[in-house]
Symmetry: C2
Subunit: 197 residues, 2 copies
DNA sequence: GTCTATAAAAGGATAGAC
DNA sequence: GTCTATCCTTTTATAGAC
């Protein structure tokens, strides 16, 4: 049994927005990829932006199943989970021959006059990501030095990931991502300075 | 005496690509902003992408005059120059009510299938930026601990800036940028750990 | 809910006179 | 080098039968 029409649309749009960006993806692209007719799409969505909202909600609601769980498979140490998450992005970079872009980050920068509701969905995605990383660090709080800023550390992980992805794609060289993560690991380890090497 | 036509086109395109992005800026937008007619634009440029290349070259060639010199005005300490550069972006964020996006970073993420020549120009811009920051650190190399990775530290500055700008814009809150820079400052200071507070 | 056909506008680019 | 007019394609979205 095939998936329902609405899901096919969201799935196709998710992939296309990721591959080509929002503006460069036409409704016709979405229709052809999802094998849906114009009338059906506009039956479910008032317009293109509403498809985008549905996509952002799918990312938001799927962060565990699509991102965290696969990234953390077999990794139980909470601090290593942070680096496993980053390694998951590395895998995506390598698998796409350095064309990978974080779908949320790319949309956040592409959409210059994003509707407040769109920005809100983008922000939710960032927040959930940072929350997950912060939780990891807090789960290991006994290993960090006094006064460690867990939120700041988690936000920095996001910046490192987004910046690393941006550079790896621009240079078509995953080494840029690796160096970013390397610097970040150094920093995190300094925050656990009392831990044995 | 007015500027020549070609310059007006590049200037208008530079501003529009920054404000709206490449794909969302139409040739008509550029024509109307630069007060140039279609025929003139296509006299100087084969097509839209060539206007983009000229814009990226203008950023590249203008990094000192447009970015480094204003950012470093009155700042001579090389390490503080790095933070003055970041503070320059902060000013842009505040002045645009958190709508600022780094023009290079935004284009790097917006253009999914960028022509190699376009990517090359983007990469040049990143490289020059990172070079400038690395030079600052190296000019103060006696203050850093043995084995400090200056290139890595400079690349991290770029990631912090790009990530901080991305978050500040998405959340419409410069505090995200500030926290990113704060984390970065902590890291840099750890690399100068022997220096007196 | 789905289908085809099509409207209405905007897009990049060109022609050819001046 | 600049001007106006325009071609052709793509785009988002709608209409109305089934």
């Amino acid at each position: 049994m095939g998936k329902d029409t609405r899901s096919r649309i969201v799935e196709a749009a998710m992939e296309l927005f990721w591959l080509k960006g929002y503006t460069s993806t036409s409704i016709a692209d979405i229709l052809s990829r999802s094998q849906v007719n114009s009338g059906s799409l506009y039956h479910f969505f008032p317009g293109k932006q509403d498809v985008l909202l549905a996509v952002l909600e799918a990312y938001r609601d799927g962060i565990r199943a699509m991102l965290l769980e696969p990234a953390w498979e077999g990794v139980s140490d909470p601090v290593e989970r942070v680096f496993a998450l980053l390694a998951f992005y590395r895998r995506a970079i390598v698998e796409t021959e350095c064309q990978y872009g974080c779908p949320i980050g790319s949309l956040a920068l592409e959409l210059h006059d994003a509707d407040p509701i769109v920005r809100e969905r983008l922000a939710e995605n960032f927040t959930n990501w940072v929350d997950a990383v912060e939780e990891c660090f807090r789960a290991a709080d006994h290993r960090f030095i006094e006064g460690t800023d867990y939120r700041g550390l988690a936000e920095l992980a996001l910046n490192v990931m987004e910046g690393g992805v941006m550079q790896a794609r621009t240079y078509r060289d995953v080494a840029h991502f690796d160096r970013a993560v390397g610097q970040y690991r150094t920093f995190v380890e300094r925050m656990m300075a009392h831990e044995a090497a």
